[in-house]
Symmetry: C2
Subunit: 331 residues, 2 copies
């Protein structure tokens, strides 16, 4: 059970240095220098043990890694570049120094790999559960942040990567399966699903490129599930959408681990994918195809923005209403 | 037990609008516009039920108010102006909608009164305790942030306001005393101590004025106690200090509620005061006196920065070593 001063001292020496960090960890507040003429973006994401994760499911490094990745994903969804992070943790008494070190190593490795400086935070004991709140400040060209409110009738709807693996990974964890760290004799499909859930990545390069080239009219990251997150875009943009069942990219691991009848449900309603969901004018198809190839990411056009409110699913040439059934924490 | 979408919807409509908030609550991240040529300051503070507060001690409005005030105090200690806040809360199941509304009302009232826009956040359920993490972004003139590291030998040490009331308030709360909301027949000294602990204010005007006029060489807010926080300045500035016992401003309520032998202990080691502690060149005395009068705050010169490392207390013309005995959470 490390003291606050020990934690701060370690992170202070370990954290990435940057010319933009005038004062980092160790003062009342960090002093930061951003580029003149740019907009700032800022957000935070809270991970609570017993609600968002279980310590039994993952080593502390992956818990730390994910805590920052999910917030970086929000920055990606704005088409912005993350610059600085603040980390607040509340630690149960049984967390050893080694545990806390590893968790912060996961946070700091993720930060380093994305050019993000951890510039401050707060630590506390916790009477019960482990809490990690990460706040990230980023920047983008003035006026180029991609919000949820710009989708227009006729826009195409795109999603990056494939869907369903994270929800399947969660099911596997709940069923007692664990990440095989030995990497021997492990089922690759199972590992893919578990890793998608436990070690998600933020689509920062894609988000930034989309923002800089103004390719999207609206964008969000899939944290609550495609149906729920698309509904957020529709609500903010005051329009409706039709998505095609056969166009939704199903994660490879579902084909060997989930029954066919569950594929669509997992892909449409499964949360914590951290893929980007965005709308773009039909004239952007060629540019988006080139961008996907350049960045080596897959992009699927899954439907269209329409005037009629609500979200509809086209399956076997039949339109059905699709309710946002993704995950929302009942609090 | 309100849903996340209900909380967000309410705060979104209630939160202060500002020309600098291009996109506020309700997107993946807030989009903010700060002034070109300024430095940003950013920090966060975590309040955990059972560690930092008890729900039995204060109405939710004061809990929310304090959660933001303590972070604003860090911004004050940098000599900066707070602009934007992100709020993360984890709510136990038994928190009603009314409870959550009141808590956010406390946060938003504090934000409004200090010109701060709440621009985002996150909510979650909590298996056990209530957690509130507030992150604040502020700004100051380039290069004018007041850090902990600039104190020089010969500087005078100042503290704003008076000390000891918050620690006394905590003792009273632990002893079963409560804030008298009826305001009838209540002991004014008791109320003063309880309010200092439960509803502290951030010395934003003073901090900003000190920063803008470059009056201080180093500054910190007293959250862990004078002895501990002054030691932070000494460690960062690589120097020592002598403070005079008879110069330390004792809070009025201590004279009627605490035995004389406890006064110094409460004032020197009591935490959560949120007064400003700073060092300034001896040539700044006149300017500081004028500033104190203009802002109607009291400033006490309590000692001097010396070359000899460590913190010493001069009492009855005798120097004794003073260990930093303020509060540090054992985590």
């Amino acid at each position: 059970m490390p003291r606050e001063s020990e934690i701060i001292s370690k992170i202070r020496h370990r954290a990435r240095k940057s010319n933009n960090v005038i004062v980092g960890i160790g003062d009342d507040a960090a002093v930061l220098r951003t580029s003149d003429g740019k907009d700032l973006v800022a957000c935070c994401d809270l991970m609570v043990e017993g609600v968002h994760f279980s310590r039994a499911w993952a080593p502390p490094k992956l818990i730390g890694r994910k805590a920052l990745a999910v917030t970086l994903s929000d920055i990606a969804a704005m088409g912005a570049v993350p610059r600085f992070a603040l980390i607040s943790v509340a630690l149960p008494g049984e967390c050893s120094s080694e545990y806390v070190d590893e968790m912060f190593e996961g946070i700091l490795e993720m930060a380093d790999s994305r050019g993000v400086s951890v510039v401050g935070g707060d630590t506390s004991s916790s009477p019960d559960s482990l809490f990690i709140d990460t706040s990230v400040i980023g920047e983008c060209e003035r006026g180029r942040a991609v919000t949820r409110s710009g989708a227009r009738v006729g826009d195409m709807i795109y999603v990056s990567g494939s869907l369903g693996a994270s929800a399947l990974g969660l099911k596997l964890l709940e069923g007692g399966f664990r990440l095989d760290v030995s990497k021997e004799a492990s089922d690759p499909a199972q590992q893919q699903a578990l890793l998608k859930h436990l070690a998600p990545d933020a689509q920062l390069k894609l988000g930034r490129a989309i923002g800089e080239a103004r390719l999207a009219t609206a964008m969000i990251d899939i944290s609550d599930g495609l149906s729920t997150d698309l509904s957020h875009i529709l609500a903010e943009s005051d329009c409706g959408a039709i998505i095609r069942a056969d166009a939704i990219p199903i994660a490879q691991c579902l084909f060997s681990l989930a029954s066919v009848s569950d594929h669509l449900q997992l892909a449409v309603n499964g949360g914590e994918e951290y893929e980007l969901l965005f709308t773009a004018g039909p004239d952007r198809q060629q540019q988006l195809a080139e961008l996907a190839e350049a960045l080596d990411v897959s992009l699927s056009a899954i439907g269209q923005i329409v005037e009629k409110k609500g979200l509809q699913l086209e399956r076997n040439s039949v339109l059905e209403s699709l309710d946002p059934c993704g995950y929302e924490h009942l609090i």
